[in-house]
Amino acid sequence: MESSEVNMSRDSSELDESARGSSSPDLALERVLSLLKSHRDRSSVSLVCKDWYNAERWSRTHVFIGNCYSVSPEIVARRFPKIRSVTLKGKPRFSDFNLVPQNWGADIHPWLVVFAAKYPFLEELRLKRMTISDESLEFLAVSFPNFKALSLLSCDGFSTDGLAIIATHCKNLTELDIQENGIDDKGGSWLSCFPESFTSLEALNFANLTSDINFDALERLVGRCKSMRVLKVNRSISLEQLQRLLVNALQLAELGTGSFSQELTFRQYEELESTLSSSKNIHTLSGLWEAKGLHLPALYPVCTHLTFLSLSYAPLQSGELAKLLAHCPQLRRLWVLDTVEDEGLEAVGSSCPLLEELRVFPADPFDEDIIHGVTEAGFVAVSYGCPRLHYVLYFCRQMTNAAVATIVQNCPDFTHFRLCIMDPGQPDYLTNEPMDEAFGAVVKTCTKLQRLSVSGLLTDLTFEYIGRYAKNLETLSVAFAGSSDWGMQCVLTGCPKLRKLEIRDCPFGNAALLSGLDKYESMRSLWMSACHVTMDGCRQLAREMPRLNVEVMKEDGSDDSEADKVYVYRSIAGPRRDAPPFVLTL
């Protein structure tokens, strides 16, 4: 994917639609290439020669754009004439944590306007961290008669009114996936907008909306959409209602249960159990927002073939989790809240030997009095029981170097290691030393590591280790760490595959920033906030690297010379034309 972005820059001068070959070898090549799905493969293909480049661009139907400002919709449309599916990512990731002010940008509308002209047969749009208004949703609904799939994650700017318009107008809709967004939830009537004649829906996810919806409308909708395989309802759906939905949708593969809580009569409970037993296709289960141990046994039949269980909004206790997991031998992915504590994680280790991914979220991240949550012991327990673990996101309040060393020894195949010790700058709680050796062990042992998030008290040594050993590292997140410019320099000069680097509250300054001059064009982006970078440093970077966009956001009350938030990214579209006043492009 990254190389495809680079690709765009190299041949922006070669764009010539009419260069398409018409001889049969090219058509045959196109046929073959149309089977290629991976972006990286396609990028490689397009670099072979001009013919292959053309064949590839005519056969591509899905384009992935990791940074919406790296390229313009016009350039995309010129190069790829046959796109049916677009995935776009907008704001820097730290915007999820309120580090990016409102109205920063990443508005989808200009893209939609171009797409309406060039891709009238567009079918799918998947957005992450973009701004989309209700007007844009309306434009989408009326401009693309074949529109099938809309997925919004971490987006903002729209309301349930926009969803109503989609439901009303998109006659061929197969997927409506509304995940964790900053949506203005004005009510649940949008769901009633699907016409009675509408039967094509295959995936519906409104789990993160809060308003009540009309249950009858939902029941009828689910009943008539016989191809539905994904249904994730919100909290307003009760257990009894869930049963009524399921009984007409036994073909479901992914289920989000809603609150999973209610006072049930014995008969109702039996009915629920029976329906769940018949739901033999469910491999992904989520929701369970208020699940009580009482009702969890009804899920046991489903648990048998479950591969992904998300309890990240369900505050279960250790015992409840243990009982549930005893029935989930096939589990590959598990998301939980830290209410399950170390004991719950021990159960993970003993019940789920095939586990590949674990995410432990904090139930109460700010509550200092809470001495619950998970510790290093839980993580270690999982590592003993789950040798195939390769993806972890772990929020905890204490950790030791020794524990992490043990963990990676047990699980050397980590590709994603995201450890968040919640108190910034906290050392190994037993030895009081920095956590350098922990992350050193990670990068030395886990040679396949692609993504790393570090935390705790860290000196430059951590970054020396990273630069020296993390040869496959693509994404690095750093906060409250490091001792000097040297740390960041190690990473920039050492990690050949680095694509995304995000740093906050670290003592890295201009020297560090400028040491990456040769690197940034091969990366998607760099974010640095609350570091020691100055405006002069940023200006120098901008001067020396004209193909980079160097953007600075200043905070009220900060010194004129400080560059509070710096966002640097490569682009073939030049500087942003839609930057708000608080974003300075240097």
Binding site: S236, S238, Q262, T265, P315, Q317, A363, D364, F366, I370
Partner: protein, 306 residues
């Protein structure tokens, strides 16, 4: 230094003392909750009780703390949650230094309080965007703590009307873990009339009403038992809580899962645990509609539907 609301040394009641105390407060946040008690114990005269006020000295009633003048009769009522009128001298005295000292300490206390909105003293929640949890998730954690369940108003209601008897016999797990309606580890918010900043109490840590009431009195009345020992009778753990028996200015009430405010103590402890959403220490005068005095309690119990 005197007065100290802060371990700043603590201290008695001089105007300057308090002033100094309050400034100290803002810088010593993290130290407060833990160290406070210790320094108090080591310091002095009963006037220092001002500090206790520290904890609760915010706004409103000017501090519903337990002590006032030196070793006065207030000690005799150590089980009682007192109001401003218990220590006029303190109030006015503070008023001199100001609103500022009160509000500053209030702020500090806010930092100490376990409220999720507040800042915690040690830094986790004082940092923007840390820990790195998506804003959506953050909001739903907050809402999990306060929003009424849809089922409570809607479906839940109609099911309650039916003769619902508990489904399969559940294992004992639930019984010991006071997982309340929020399923949130047994911590519920507690607010006291006149005090803007709330606290949280872990229901899991208690097995009966007396213990809970005692804990609340400790929390809102004084920072630690040691204080009590200074020149006054020690707080008896065995003494029945004034909050529960109706002899105090305040009563303990709770909001149940249907959103009604009820007097604490009427139903069996476990049933209380399963229905309590949050607590409020209410002025008796305001609680007339729902919290009759002790002698009425039996009557009330009979008439109240369980």
């Amino acid at each position: 230094m005197e007065g100290g609301l802060v371990l700043l040394g603590g201290g008695g009641g001089g105007g300057s003392g308090s002033g100094g105390g309050s400034s100290g407060v803002s810088t010593n946040e993290s130290a407060v909750s833990k160290v406070e008690v210790v320094s108090e114990a080591s310091s002095y005269p009963a006037e220092s009780e001002l500090e206790l006020g520290l904890g609760l000295s915010l706004g409103g009633s000017g501090g519903a703390t337990g002590k006032t003048k030196v070793g006065t009769s207030s000690w005799g009522e150590c089980g009682r949650i007192l109001t401003a009128k218990d220590f006029p001298s303190v109030v006015s005295h503070r008023a001199n230094n100001g609103g500022p000292s009160v509000s500053v300490s209030g702020t500090k206390r806010a930092a100490e309080s376990v409220s999720h909105e507040g800042g915690s003293p040690t830094g986790v929640s004082q940092v923007v965007g840390w820990p790195p949890i998506r804003a959506y998730r953050m909001n739903s954690l907050v809402n999990q703590a306060k929003a009424p369940r849809a089922e409570d108003d809607g479906i839940g209601e109609k099911d309650k009307a039916k003769d619902s008897f508990k489904k399969k016999p559940y294992n004992g797990n639930k019984i010991n873990s006071a997982v309340n309606e929020k399923g949130h580890l047994g911590f519920v918010k507690v607010n006291m009339d006149g005090i803007p900043i709330g606290r949280k109490v872990d229901l899991n840590a208690h097995s009966c009403y007396e213990s809970l009431a005692q804990a609340l009195e400790d929390m809102f009345l004084r920072s630690a038992p040691t204080i009590n020992s200074i020149g006054a009778e020690k707080e008896q753990v065995t003494k029945p809580s004034k909050l529960l028996d109706g002899s105090s200015e305040f009563v303990l009430t709770y909001e149940d899962k249907e959103g009604d405010w009820m007097l604490v103590g009427d139903v069996p402890w476990r049933m209380f645990l399963s229905s309590v959403r949050r607590l409020r220490i209410m002025r008796t005068s305001e609680a007339n509609g729902l919290a009759p005095r002790f002698h009425d309690r039996n009557e009330r119990q009979r008439s109240k539907p369980i």
